[in-house]
């Protein structure tokens, strides 16, 4: 493995009780945003869950780079409780995402309770919390869920800005136009 490699997935067959996806192979280097695209039900999220040890690996390998590196994971369905007295600012502090000011769409929401945010606002906050954390490897699962066109445009802008030399981002999405607009490479996962 070279020093730029963050993640190497080779001939991965993964699932839960039975295999649901694979074989899939790809490499993610520092400074890259890699797209994992495919239709709903193709097993893209299962690949992501296998990477973090939440899905069973039937065959193949998942290898991290040599240097230990923190990982941030954006869940496809972020945890939303009926009552969440946590503020947006506290939420960002949990992941250490306080390095730079959030986009204007989020700036005015940071002192609200999480249960006062709309689904799209909360999703954007969740993605921002992961992207702006100090993690070197960021895994995003359908990051534009629940977003209206305005929030989606902000997401794309934020993803472009998140491309830094030391970090790699893996974007799982069934929206081809999203991965095409933000990713340096795209890996297709067949249904």
């Amino acid at each position: 493995m070279n020093g730029h490699l963050l993640l190497e997935v080779e001939n991965l067959v993964a699932g839960y009780r039975d295999p649901v996806v694979g074989p899939v192979s790809f490499r993610l280097n520092r400074g890259e945003i890699l797209g994992l695209a495919g239709p709903n039900g193709s097993g893209k999220s299962t690949v992501l869950r296998a990477i973090i040890g939440r899905a069973r690996i039937f065959s193949g390998t998942v290898r991290r780079g040599h240097d230990p590196i923190a990982t941030a994971v954006q869940a496809q369905r972020p945890v939303r409780l009926a009552e969440m007295p946590i503020t947006g600012r506290e939420y960002l502090r949990l992941t250490g995402a306080a390095r730079r000011a959030p986009p204007p769409q989020l700036g005015g929401l940071l002192d609200l309770r999480l249960d006062e945010l709309s689904g799209g606002q909360f999703q954007l906050l969740h993605v921002w919390a992961c992207l702006e954390s100090p993690a070197g490897l960021v895994l995003l699962d359908e990051p534009d869920n629940n977003m209206d066109p305005g929030a989606r445009a902000t997401l794309i802008e934020v993803l472009h800005q998140s491309r830094t030399a030391g970090r790699g981002v893996l974007v799982v999405s069934h929206e081809h136009d999203l991965v095409e607009s933000v990713c340096s490479r795209i890996v297709e996962v067949a249904a």
Partner: protein, 261 residues
């Protein structure tokens, strides 16, 4: 009894014991509620009650056996049980069965069962006070380390697994802390009152507070207010403390109807 009697150590120490519980229970209760494991409070309190009965049946130190039972139940849940309220419901039913069967078949079982239902705060003394102070120091000492991890695990449930720690230590530490606090509470104010303070005080605070530490602070404030009023009423009118605490908290819970959220 008059309020002047309250200054007598016989009543003062139990009063302080209750005050400490009114601070410590909502502190763990807020985190339990955030984890949607509020049934934990009833399950663990019932496990402690079963421990009291086991202690009485075996003629062993009751407080030690109650604490041990609650901690063992919490550890069993951590290591083997399903996550969430299911494991606490099983714990609750098992504890209830064991407690009542042993009560029916031991010499002082009925009296103890009665005490666990109504609360026996007036009979708690210096050893309870020492245990509560120790648990309080541990709770407040661990809070800056524990709270961010509990919140991170709640809102980013894959974070620890993704970073090579699928079973982070803070989970077990928290479960044991909840168990010890609930065991001390159940053996002082009764099973149902312990549950009520853990559940109702944060339930009220979650509706009104904005920010996590404000939520904890409001939960403690509600709990303290309810406890002081309940103690005064129970003391003045010679009523069992447990049901009075629950009643006052239920009345305060009506404030949720006026929340803007």
């Amino acid at each position: 009894m008059s309020f002047a009697d309250l200054l007598h150590p016989m009543f003062l120490i139990p009063f302080v014991n209750g005050l400490l519980l009114a601070i410590l229970l909502p502190l763990v209760g807020a985190h339990v509620r955030l984890r949607e494991e509020w049934l934990a409070s009833l399950g663990l309190a019932q496990a402690a009650a079963a421990g009291v009965m086991v202690g009485a049946f075996l003629d062993a130190p009751i407080a030690v056996v109650a604490l041990t039972a609650a901690v063992v139940a919490a550890l069993a849940k951590s290591f083997f049980g399903p996550k969430g309220n299911e494991s606490y419901a099983l714990m609750l039913l098992l504890g209830w069965t064991v407690a009542l069967l042993l009560a029916a078949n031991s010499a002082h079982g009925d009296d103890l069962s009665h005490a666990l239902t109504e609360g026996q705060l007036y009979f708690t003394g210096g050893s309870h006070l020492q245990a509560l102070v120790a648990v309080g120091l541990v709770q407040f000492g661990l809070l800056p380390w524990l709270a961010p991890r509990l919140l991170l695990a709640r809102f980013f449930p894959d974070h620890f697994a993704a970073n090579g720690r699928p079973n982070p230590h803070h989970e077990i530490v928290f479960d044991v802390l909840v168990a010890v606090t609930l065991a001390l509470a159940a053996t002082a104010i009764g099973v149902m009152a312990a549950f009520a303070v853990v559940f109702l005080a944060p339930w009220i605070a979650f509706r009104f507070a904005r920010g996590w530490f404000k939520t904890i602070a409001l939960g403690i404030a509600v709990s303290l207010a309810a406890y002081v009023v309940a103690f005064a009423l129970a003391f003045r009118f010679d009523q069992p403390i447990g049901p009075v605490i629950v009643g006052v908290l239920l009345l305060l819970g009506g404030a949720r109807l006026f929340a803007r959220h």
